[in-house]
């Protein structure tokens, strides 16, 4: 047998066939080529972790043995080779869940000005500095607004023109008059933090048509 050709053929098959089956067949073919064909089992080594991985929080979670047997006849003598491959798995602690939208919102370092030119507005709280670098406040809450009803909080500013956000095409726009104790006259009144506004980090707007 031309073992070089056999190796080439087997390698080519690997792109089309199952990995482990290919491994077993190749082993059998190779041994057959040496004329020493017998019933053999070749077992891969086990693997273990040390203290460094333990210190990093890893634990062994699984081991599996994959057994593949290949039989072959050469020069009137038949035999088989069984290949045992091993998979050893370790894992550290589970992933931290993705933050909620509210967590992203309150932890955001983004300014409202970075966010307010997109739609729909899911929440707007803030002072008159809608286009300023105003940062979120820890513990602030937000409210979701329906896409079909863009609702903006537009605080009053003493002695200055109100700042208004308009939309094109026009959606429902509510004006809120600021009253005492950090509330505006939405119905029901919406509290907001004086001098603060915030926008969520990582927020993107994607239309369903994928643009």
């Amino acid at each position: 047998m031309n073992s070089k050709r056999e190796l080439t053929d087997t390698t080519a098959r690997l792109t089309r066939r199952k990995l482990l089956l290919a491994a077993g067949v190749a082993g059998a073919a190779g041994l057959a080529g040496c004329g020493g064909l017998t019933n053999q089992t070749i077992t891969a080594s086990d693997v273990e972790m040390g203290e460094t991985m333990a210190g990093l929080g890893f634990e062994q979670t699984d081991t599996k043995t994959f057994t593949n047997k290949a039989e072959r006849e050469a020069f009137g003598v038949s035999g088989s080779v069984t290949a045992e491959s091993k998979l050893t798995v370790f894992a550290n602690e589970e992933s931290t869940p993705d933050p909620t939208e509210e967590e992203r919102w309150t932890e955001s370092d983004s300014t409202l000005s970075q966010w307010s030119d997109s739609t729909p507005i899911r929440a707007v709280r803030g002072s008159d500095g809608l286009d300023g670098d105003i940062m979120p406040a820890e513990g602030d809450q937000f409210e979701s607004m329906p896409a079909a009803s863009t609702t903006l909080l537009v605080p009053d500013t003493d002695g200055e023109p109100d700042r208004v956000i308009s939309s094109t095409p026009m959606a429902d726009v509510d004006f809120g008059d600021r009253v005492s104790d950090g509330e505006v006259t939405f119905d029901p009144p919406v509290p907001y933090a004086e001098g603060e506004s915030f926008a969520p980090a990582g927020l993107a707007f994607v239309s369903e048509d994928g643009q």
Binding site: S3, E6, L7, T10, L14, L19, A23, A26, G27, C34, I42, A44, D46, V47, E48, M49, G50, T52, F58, V81, A83, L87, T88, V89, F90, A91, N92, E93, S95, T96, E101, S110, Q114, D117, S118, T119, I121, A147, T150, D162, V164, I165, S166, T168, M170, D172, V173, D174, F175, G176, D187, P200, A201, G202, L203, A204, V206, S207, E208, Q211
Partner: protein, 266 residues
């Protein structure tokens, strides 16, 4: 946990609402329509809030919009995403000093990037790493880094790959980061693989629809790699944005190198 990237605005279609900041005085009751807002007389009545009345037009063909939060592969991603270390050992089946195991002919790149991720599947690594069934690439994997490591006592090259996959478990693609090193030890060929994966993005509300493949199909991993995650950009399909941060890959590779260096044959 760092939430990384700031707002990413994917450009909305022409029919979508575009908000503008304007300066105006409050329109008192009876001052309708509001000239600044461009509301015409025939748009119908709107809500009355305090002393302010705003007329509103009927909204037709309002675009259905989904809001998503990218989960860029940054340092926070690497530190807060579970790492699975899988070691696959298989007999080298060598005869006369010649390796006859076809695995010796499989390079790291093929092991990760083969169509359908068949090697990850058949070696059991996909399942061991908690990736769902029917894994397929939606953004083709690519090598993003490499370094020399010790694996089972041998010096070898560890390569880092990033790609985006979907599985049968969710319609949301997952960012998949794989560090892979191979070596021959004794009579075995060994593949040391670390796997981390996390949803590519999360949706802002339950039941929201994921975006279609239009954006993802225009992405290429090399174009997504950068020093800092994109922040505050208007993004359209095909734009280059940074969702794979160099420091995040390095953080993952650091941990992988420590883990592989700590492994030994039993």
């Amino acid at each position: 946990m760092s939430h990384g990237v700031g707002p990413l605005f994917l450009t909305a279609p022409p029919s979508s609402l575009i908000l503008e900041l304007l300066e105006t005085t409050r329109q008192e009751s009876g001052n309708s329509p509001n000239p600044v807002l461009g509301v015409s007389d025939d748009t119908g009545g709107g809500p009355t809030i305090g002393s302010t009345t705003i007329n509103t037009p009927s909204i037709t063909n309002l675009p259905s919009v989904t809001q998503i939060y990218w989960n860029p592969l940054d340092t926070g991603w690497a530190e807060n995403t579970q790492t699975t270390v899988a070691v696959f050992t298989t007999p080298s089946a060598s005869v006369g000093g010649r390796s006859l195991n076809p695995l010796s002919e499989v390079d790291e790149n093929e092991f990760v990037t083969a169509d359908g991720a068949e090697y990850l599947e058949e070696s059991g690594i996909r399942e061991a790493a908690g990736l769902g069934p029917n894994l397929s690439w939606v953004v083709a994997p690519a090598e993003v880094a490499s370094r020399s490591v010790t694996f089972l006592g041998n010096q070898t090259t560890m390569r880092s790959y990033v790609g985006y996959v979907t599985t049968g478990d969710s319609e949301i693609p997952r960012t998949l980061l794989i560090n892979l090193a191979t070596t021959e030890t004794g009579d075995d060929i060994a593949f040391g693989v670390t796997v981390q994966h996390r949803a590519m993005y999360s949706l802002s509300e339950d039941g929201a629809s994921a975006p279609t493949d239009g954006i993802l199909s225009a992405m290429s991993v090399p174009d997504l790699v950068g020093a800092e995650a994109s922040n505050g950009l208007n993004v359209s399909a095909g734009d280059d944005i940074t969702l794979v941060v160099d420091a995040g890959v390095t953080t993952s590779a650091d941990l992988a190198a420590q883990a592989l260096g700590d492994l030994s044959l039993a």
